[in-house]
């Protein structure tokens, strides 16, 4: 029974709940059992079974009274441990927040709870969401459910690696992630699931532990495009407490997608950027990309060659801007108001001791880079220059979208690598985000859809990038890819 329940998609489970074939309690218990049986993945930092069951009981009671809150009422979800959850420890996978219990709830998780969603627990991530492999977590790396039992354990990608592993491992129906340079899309690709980074401003950042404020965006992760649409509809919306949150109405993404025929995208213009064919691109990634374009063409889309000439500079731009913003955001961890404190003789010493012990190696590295590029004498040469190149990157996309409606690219340059690989040199790790960072810099929505298996039998993803606030078209194109790819492989097989 448990396997049957955890094999459902979110939309199927919602239907089952709506027509009374399922109860939220049995669904939640099935996932709690699955979580307990898969602790070796290390996908969760904190499990909240008692809260989950209480929420499930309440959801069932509402439904019995005829007062269901909608499709998410009673749906078990995993929450990335970067979202503050009232009364539940929230760590950002950092020693400096090891004992932090937020007295408030992030807007996105509050919206999900208001829609009746059941939180199963808080998922593992790279420390402060800085990483592409989930190996920088102070709670240890997450294992990708794919390749489990193989010679070497594989990374789930990062930074939302725990969320991606939990969805792929059938430990939840869906999860929240956050994406700064690819942290939803790259792990979604590595784990064979769907992940959406919405337009910057679509989901409130309030209550999400900040990494790089001009890039951070929350988004949904699930097994199907339709599931992601249901989650986004609940997560999105204007929030006066986030000054960059867009005061725009939220379409019913799920209903719009359900009304569309995924086999028919006639009229859709799909841009294929020449500059993403980077030197040394793996043949199987290139082949998957071409196949994706063929699938969309077969469904009636027009494929358009486009140019994004500043693509090659996106990573360098990102690795100035993101650390600069991080060094500023992380200045708040001073051992005074919350979090770890390591005593010192003077206030300065206390700051230095606290931050020296409280941050891991990758976070320290980024704080130092950020501090350097913002320091007197270097600000113009690095930070201001990067902001100018960022403007050019954003302009490239604006020009491209005159000729196309969505852009198709691979999500990541490879399949999942082994835990411990690519850790010698930060730049090698940064290259994971080569296809996801440009859309992040431009604030655009990006969706990763599982599209096939590599020669090693591991999932590969295709990315659909859209115009600002046009997640609806991105989801429609994603559903067409999903239908054509017919990706049914599971890590359990």
């Amino acid at each position: 029974m448990t396997a049957a329940l955890t094999g459902l998609t979110l939309a199927e489970a919602a239907d089952g709940l709506a027509c009374g074939h399922l109860s939220a309690v049995e669904l939640t218990q099935a996932y709690l059992d699955a979580m307990a049986a898969a602790r070796d993945l290390n996908a969760f930092i904190t499990e909240t079974p008692d809260l989950a069951l209480a929420a499930a009981v309440a959801a069932d009671a509402r439904r019995q009274r005829g007062q269901s809150l909608g499709p998410l009422d009673g749906i078990p979800l995993a929450i990335k441990d970067l979202f503050c959850t009232e009364g539940v420890r929230t760590t950002a996978a950092s020693p400096i927040l090891d004992a932090f219990v937020p007295p408030y709830e992030s807007t996105v998780t509050a919206k999900l709870k208001a829609a009746g969603a059941v939180m199963l627990g808080k998922t593992n991530l790279d420390e402060f969401a800085m990483g592409s492999s989930n190996v920088t977590s102070c709670f240890g790396p997450v294992k990708n459910p794919w390749g489990r039992g193989g010679e070497r354990d594989l990374v789930p990608g990062g930074s939302s690696g725990g969320s991606a592993a939990a969805v792929a491992g059938r430990l939840c129906l869906g999860a929240t992630g956050t994406d700064t340079g690819g942290s939803i899309r790259q792990p979604a690709a590595f784990c064979g699931i769907v992940g959406l980074k919405p337009t910057y401003g679509r989901c409130s950042r309030w209550g999400i532990i900040a990494f790089a404020s001009s890039l951070d965006q929350a988004g949904p992760m699930a097994r199907r495009v339709a599931d992601v649409a249901i989650l986004l509809t609940a997560m999105a919306g204007h929030d006066p407490r986030d000054s960059t949150s867009a005061p725009l109405p939220v379409p019913d993404f799920a209903a719009d997608l359900a009304a569309a025929d995924p086999s028919d995208v006639r009229g859709l213009r799909v841009g294929v950027p020449a500059e993403y064919r980077v030197g040394g691109m793996a043949e199987e990634i290139d082949a998957l990309w071409r196949r994706g374009a063929d699938w969309l063409r077969a469904a009636g889309a027009t494929i358009v060659d486009i140019s994004l000439p500043h693509t090659q500079h996106a990573l360098a731009t990102y690795y100035i801007i993101a650390p600069a913003e991080a060094s500023s955001n992380l200045a708040r961890y001073d051992g005074v108001r919350f979090g770890l404190r390591v005593p010192g003789e003077t206030l300065d010493e206390m700051y230095q001791n606290t931050r020296g012990e409280g941050f891991g190696a990758e976070v320290r590295r980024r704080i130092l880079i950020g501090t350097y590029v913002l320091s007197a004498g270097y600000y113009d040469a690095y930070y201001l220059k990067a902001q100018k190149v960022r403007a050019l990157i954003a302009r490239d996309f604006a020009h491209a979208f005159e000729a196309c409606d969505v852009i198709l690219t691979p999500t990541a340059p490879s399949d999942a690598f082994a835990i411990g690989e690519k850790t010698d040199d930060p730049i090698t790790m940064y290259l994971n985000d080569v296809f996801t960072v440009p859309a992040s810099l431009a604030g655009l929505p990006g969706l990763s859809v599982p599209a096939g298996l590599s020669r090693r039998g591991l999932p590969l993803g295709l990315q659909v990038i859209g115009r600002p606030f046009d997640e609806a078209t991105v989801l429609r194109a994603g559903a067409a890819l999903e239908r054509a790819a017919a990706f049914t492989a599971t890590p359990m097989a």
Binding site: F100, V101, P102, P103, T199, Y200, G201, S214, P240, T244, A246, P247, L248, H313, A316, T317, Y319, I320, S327, V336, R337, F338, G339, R341, P343, G344, E345, T346, L347, E349, Y351, Q352, R355, G356, F359, R364, R365, I367, L368, I369, T371, Y372, S375, Y382, L384, K385, A386, Q387, K388, V389, R390, A391, L392, A394, D425, P426, Y430, L441, G443, F469
Partner: protein
């Protein structure tokens, strides 16, 4: 751009990060590699380009300048490492 030990020490102090002396060389090497990588931006012609300071694709609204929350000192101090009499305690800063 190659950073030396003393520059790394200075940056670490600016960031208020305790870095052990025996880590300075390794950090200098890592940080220099990252700076070498990002210096490719010098090859991009950005003449006449305004720096991008916001990604928001719309005019963002102002909110009323009004108190909307507060009066919860215990909640505010709940996570403080050393709360004393409704305040945050820190080492002495004035002699």
């Amino acid at each position: 751009m190659s950073l030396d030990r003393s520059t790394v020490r200075t940056i670490a102090y600016l960031a208020r990060l305790r870095v052990a002396e025996d880590q300075l060389d390794a950090l200098a090497t890592e940080l220099s590699a990252i700076l070498d990588f990002v210096e490719q931006l010098n090859t991009v012609d950005t003449g006449g380009v305004e720096p991008m300071t916001s990604v928001a694709h719309i005019q963002l609204p102002l909110r009323a300048d009004a108190v909307s929350d507060g009066g919860a000192p215990d909640t505010v101090l709940a996570n403080a490492p050393l709360p004393i009499d409704g305040t945050y305690a820190v080492p002495k800063v004035v002699e």
